[in-house]
């Protein structure tokens, strides 16, 4: 019997005019796995997240969530099916209080967990503050918190550590690993911070020019010369 994956993309292709951002990418992430998605700028990482989450138009291929074909579902429908995402640039509601926006998010969730998320993300102390008035690091955590409302099945994270200090990045990585384990969330993580990726990901997929260059455990990825040459350099040595 074929294995059912938490999230699965088959033959994913996305073109912008003459430029192919994704070229027949196949990706399958099993339940409970934290999968890293790395590659140089322009490799197609964010495009892949956009296709999986329903943000992209005019793409080919198929997307399955726990075996169910969600290719034709809108972003809203995918979210309600248990597929959540965060964004490369902080994407919150600036004028709304932290708790208020988590409550708005929870009204669409089957299992509202505002207090749980506030606590887990360390946002309880600033719950009454407007997002525009909190620090950048707190806004990044709020962005992630919005995605965690309702305990999604699959979480697509597009550079959640962007702009954070090394200490903040590693704290976020620990938090992600802990939550993914306890809440049984499957995570697809796009991240340029290799310390974060190599410390928490079970497996890593390397994209290059819209294609899958390699896939394997962190140790395997480190040992592939093309990957090291093309992207990693001395970052993980």
């Amino acid at each position: 019997m074929a294995e059912t994956f938490a999230i699965e993309g088959g033959g994913l292709t996305r073109r912008y005019g003459g430029f192919t951002a994704l070229d027949a990418v196949d990706l399958a992430v099993p339940d409970g796995e934290i999968r890293g998605l790395i590659g140089p700028n322009g490799a197609g990482k964010s495009t892949l997240i956009d296709v999986l989450s329903g943000r992209a138009d005019d793409w080919q291929g198929s997307v399955r969530l726990r075996g169910a074909d969600i290719s034709r579902l809108s972003a809203q429908q995918r979210r309600r099916s248990g597929l959540a995402r965060s964004f490369q640039r902080t994407n919150v509601f600036p004028e709304l209080a932290v708790r208020e926006q988590l409550e708005v998010a929870s009204w669409r969730a089957e299992t509202p967990n505002v207090d749980e998320v506030l606590h887990e993300m360390g946002l309880a102390a600033i719950a009454h503050m407007r997002a525009a008035d909190v620090s950048y690091g707190d806004r990044r955590r709020l962005d992630l918190a919005l995605a965690l409302i309702g305990r999604p099945t699959v979480l697509l994270l597009d550079e959640p550590a962007a702009g954070l200090s090394m200490k903040e990045s590693m704290a976020l990585a620990e938090l992600l690993r802990d939550l993914a384990s306890r809440w049984k969330v499957t995570v697809l993580l796009v991240e340029h911070d290799m310390d974060v990726v190599f410390s928490i990901c079970h497996r890593i997929t390397v994209l290059h020019l819209g294609r899958v260059l390699a896939e394997g455990t962190p140790a395997e990825i480190r040992s592939i010369p093309e990957v090291v040459t093309a992207y990693l350099g001395s970052a993980v040595e």
Partner: protein
């Protein structure tokens, strides 16, 4: 106080919270003040001006609501104001149905039209939305102007109303003293209703969509219908203003549909402050009195209004209402929060 802090201070109450006791007190006081004012202000000229100002304030509230709740700027709200007038005037002219039915239609039809239009145009962001509303408004204006046989063209026409509407003598709607009270009650009820609405899930979700439409979609929200509903609600309020105007003046003309009226309503909303529910209404009152004052001084009063708009926009970005709130907070630093 920083601009961010000011903005925080002007934010609405926590979601789902029951109206505070002060809200009911303010409602009662506002209704009482409106009922008493015509007894205090004996000048017919002043009360006429006040009546016009309150009706203008209702139209400005409609425009302000759209900005506050949906982040959309309309240059065409005169369309809903004017359509309401014609929905009362045309059936009366052609003897189609009772005036009471026309009044209901005058509010309902522009609201429905706005909802249907909204399903299409709220998808279009920023200036393009504003231009579309301008185009739609001007289309109705042009129609009213050119279809002389139906609308009376540029001259407009007097509305022949029955002696009583809903059992109330029609003259009640046409005497400034009584019409002021009716318009005032309508304004207070609208503001109170909007105050309650902002506390509902609908109010919170539309505020979230205004803030970040994309993120709202990725939280699972359908974003077009809620914005279309806000547009329709805003049109409903504009239509109420148009209905009151038509009943008060018993006259309609294409001027009720003209973009300059939409522009004036927008100026009122900005001058009063769009972050506060009552800001645009305050702007309406200020606008009418300033216009009257400036009109006495110079025939170039529109230039003075333009200059005032520039000064208010630069010096008081939260409008006169926002400045008043700020002043009150300074006078009472340990006091409670101010509510929209």
């Amino acid at each position: 106080m920083s601009r961010q802090a000011e903005s925080s201070a002007l934010a609405a109450a926590p979601p789902g919270a029951a109206p505070a006791r002060w809200t009911w007190s303010v409602l009662a006081a506002a209704l009482a003040a409106g009922a008493l004012l015509p007894q205090v202000v004996t000048s017919t000229l002043a009360i006429t001006l006040l009546t016009q100002a309150v009706i203008g304030g209702i139209l400005a509230t409609a425009v302000g609501l759209l900005i506050r709740q949906a982040g959309l700027v309309s240059f065409g709200h005169a369309a809903f104001f004017g359509l309401a007038g014609y929905f009362i005037a045309l059936p009366a002219r052609h003897g189609l149905w009772p005036a009471e039915v026309s009044i209901v239609l005058a509010v309902a039809a522009p609201t429905l039209l706005a909802f249907l239009l909204g399903l299409v145009i709220v998808r279009i962001p920023g200036v393009a939305f504003s231009m579309l509303t301008l185009a739609i408004g001007q289309a109705f204006h042009e129609f009213a102007l050119r279809a002389r046989e139906i609308t009376g063209g540029e001259d407009g026409f007097a509305i022949s109303l029955p002696r009583a509407l809903y059992g109330v003598p029609t003259e009640i709607f046409q005497r400034p003293q009584s019409m002021f009270v009716i318009a005032w009650v309508a304004l207070v009820v609208i503001l109170f209703g909007l105050h309650l609405l902002t506390r509902t899930r609908f109010g919170r979700v539309t505020a979230a969509i205004r803030e970040n439409e994309e993120r709202a979609r990725f939280l699972g929200y359908q974003t077009v219908v809620p914005r279309a509903l806000v547009f329709a609600l805003s049109a409903l309020i504009g239509a109420v203003a148009g209905t009151l105007f038509a009943l008060y003046n018993a006259f309609v003309s294409p001027e009720m549909l003209h973009w300059s009226l939409s522009g004036s309503a927008l100026i009122m909303a900005i001058v009063g402050g769009t972050k506060l529910l009552w800001g645009p209404a305050l702007g309406g009152v200020v606008f009418f009195f300033f216009k009257d004052l400036a009109g006495d001084l110079t025939e170039h009063w529109p230039a003075m209004i333009g200059l005032t708009l520039i000064v208010v926009t630069v010096a008081l970005p939260l409008g006169i209402g926002g400045a008043l709130v700020r002043l009150l907070q300074r006078l009472r630093p340990a006091g409670g929060r101010t509510h929209g």
